[in-house]
Symmetry: C2
Subunit: 404 residues, 2 copies
């Protein structure tokens, strides 16, 4: 008789954004006349950049002729893309990453979910709290998080590092020593960042404790301030303790186009086993590459035109962020983030529960946001709005919130 992985049964509710999706769908069905604006899920709205569109069309044409057709991609991704990544994302910032340390994938969500595969069950993970749900859920699914305490809304075997207004959203080194540390910077959901000194402290700590840092830099392109690291490898010693994940979803609007990559440095080892070789084995066995045409689109993001055009997209979203930030602030809300990230993290008024504020906003303002508590216990009393809407919808949403 087959046995299921009953770690799945311990998971509370469904994936956060599925829950929100269902709530919104139900509201729309009951209120077909209402114009619901979503500033909830971090999904982009700007079309792909012209340089990317051109690369896609060109690659599609290549796929139409036997001479230029592309079948299975190389395990790690096409060299043209990995070279563009090494040059632009790393060498340009003084970091040398070898081409075989870059693993092209269908996105950072898959990578951050799948990376758990190469670690044994008996690792203790530490996450900032609030946190992107995939880190915890994927560890829970693979039996690394202990039991779920429903009353406390947290897992028995996870180290939660509160990030709140009180500590300026900078996680403190935990009392209990973790084995795997998840850091997302610029942060989803809080929109806040670490300075290079903050991050260096974590890198040194991880090396000292022989812990590994899973560093999610999906929002790197939104950094506007100087002292915020674009890559963890800007810190000394990061190559012996850190895996970095990147995405094209937010820097080039690829949420529906799917492309990302993960850096696993060869120096990162457990005894004499390189994590690079483990991830290569997983990648080669359980994945078959991102589509050729999408990898060509990714390459175009690094062209001169592509860079200029995606920079404009980001400036567009960051204008929304500024408007939300300032608009809410003017209304008397306490807000964070939105300077180096497309997320605004606000404190709910009068200590309202996050889900109550979600319902209020949906029902009275017809605006969808994300309840802070959905990201972890320390997110309670906070709420996330994204800057990814159109300028018009963002303005409209603010007007409606003002009237609450």
């Amino acid at each position: 008789m087959f046995k299921i992985n009953d770690n799945y049964l311990k998971l509370p509710g469904s994936y956060l954004f599925s829950t929100i999706g269902k709530k919104v769908a139900a509201f729309k069905e009951e209120n077909p006349d209402k114009d619901v604006i979503s500033l909830g899920i971090g999904d982009v709205t700007q079309p792909l950049a012209p340089a990317v569109i051109k690369a896609l069309h060109d690659a599609v044409d290549e796929m139409s002729k036997a001479e230029t057709f592309h079948g299975y991609a190389p395990d790690l991704g096409y060299e043209f893309l990995r070279r563009a990544i090494a040059d632009n994302d790393y060498r340009a910032r003084g970091v040398e990453i070898a081409l075989d340390e870059i693993f092209v994938s269908d996105g950072a969500k898959s990578d951050s979910g799948n990376i758990v595969d190469i670690f044994s069950e008996d690792n203790v993970i530490a996450v900032t709290d609030p946190v992107y749900p995939v880190y915890v859920d994927s560890n829970a699914m693979s039996g690394k998080t202990g039991e779920y305490w429903k009353d406390k809304e947290c897992w028995s075997n996870v180290i939660y590092m509160p990030c709140m207004a009180e500590n300026n959203f900078v996680p403190e080194l935990p009392e209990k020593t973790p084995d795997i540390i998840y850091i997302c910077c610029p942060n989803n959901p809080t929109g806040t960042t670490l300075t290079k000194e903050d991050l260096q402290k974590w890198v040194s700590y991880a090396n000292e404790k022989k812990a590994v840092i899973i560093y999610d830099a999906a929002y790197e392109a939104y950094i506007s301030e100087d002292n915020v690291p674009h890559s963890i490898y800007e810190c000394d010693g990061a190559k012996t303790c850190a895996i970095e994940m990147r995405s094209f979803s937010k820097n080039a609007g690829f949420t529906g186009t799917r492309l990302g990559f993960t850096i696993v440095p060869k120096e990162l080892k457990s005894g004499d086993v390189s994590l690079n070789s483990l991830w290569a084995r997983r990648h080669g066995t359980k994945f078959n590459g991102a589509p050729y045409i999408i990898q060509r689109a990714g390459e175009a993001v690094y062209s001169e035109e592509g860079k200029a055009q995606t920079k404009e997209q980001i400036a567009f979203y960051m204008k929304n962020a500024k408007n939300i930030r300032e608009g809410l602030s003017d209304m008397g809300y306490t807000v964070f983030g939105g300077v180096n990230a497309p997320y605004i993290w606000l404190q709910t008024p009068d200590g309202m529960k996050s889900w109550d504020f979600f319902d209020l906003l949906l029902e009275k303002a017809n605006v969808v946001g994300t309840p802070g508590s959905g990201f972890g216990p320390s997110g309670e009393g906070y709420f996330r709005l994204t800057a990814f809407g159109s300028a018009e919808n963002t303005e409209k949403a603010l007007e409606r919130i003002k009237k609450l």
Copy 2:
């Protein structure tokens, strides 16, 4: 201190096709003047069908405008694609599959590798031998296969069901009862098939033993004979015991375009837990959908033009298959497969070891094939050639083999 998943360390060598790739690359580097023909990895060579190309261009254009831009896809895949699948792959064959039983993915390799996630460690798997390496390797990586016995080239906790000329490549019900049974039909690597009666026997057995069948139907489009099932759900009772995986790689040349899907019927349960809900949770947490433009390309495969054009592609490959089959037969080789599948499975001459025949073919004929033993112990003494080459290369390869 972080701990790696040391199941990975038990894996013998690297993934089969990576090993072959490295061997071929080394040969080419030493022999830059040789024209090497690959009939090794099952990679297509025909360009995408015109209807698919048109759908790709149209979808790319949609991505270039805000009004028609697509961000994150629905968790299960777009309804337009799932509806086309339900209608064409199932309803047309008398099988009703609900839309929420279809999970669109980036390909059958990912799905067949990731499906292990929803099962606990203490399942005993049964595989046909020889077998597509991903089934066993992904189970080994998640600790379900026991120890690797190097001398016997097999795992202590896997039930191998030999498929050889002696039993007409039809696996017999095993003595020890398995929990999870992998069946690939038409078969990779042998190119042989089961009849509907053969498969019904397995479905009844699985229901009786409360085992689950992972049914890989990636080569379904190559079936030319009447009594070969296109879907396992043609068998009575399959919905309570079988998960079916499909791919666009071989039926429409999507190896480098990446698209597939998995059917998990809601009736398939462990106690009161539906496997459909577990896979939905995994899909929603660790995957973020196939690209919109690729899903549109998949939809085009089911259009009238798409069907006609991909049928032609398959006829083209099956002509190669016939040529290889008959050509080798005329040379005195004993050959199997190639009638309902694009693979020809030949017995090596004079009981030669599979890898020795690989080396001989590479060095003397400059033809790349796949050694049967790479697919499992009972593959020893066999060798796989694929029909996916160009007609010209296939002819040329046969000429060279003739001269050996």
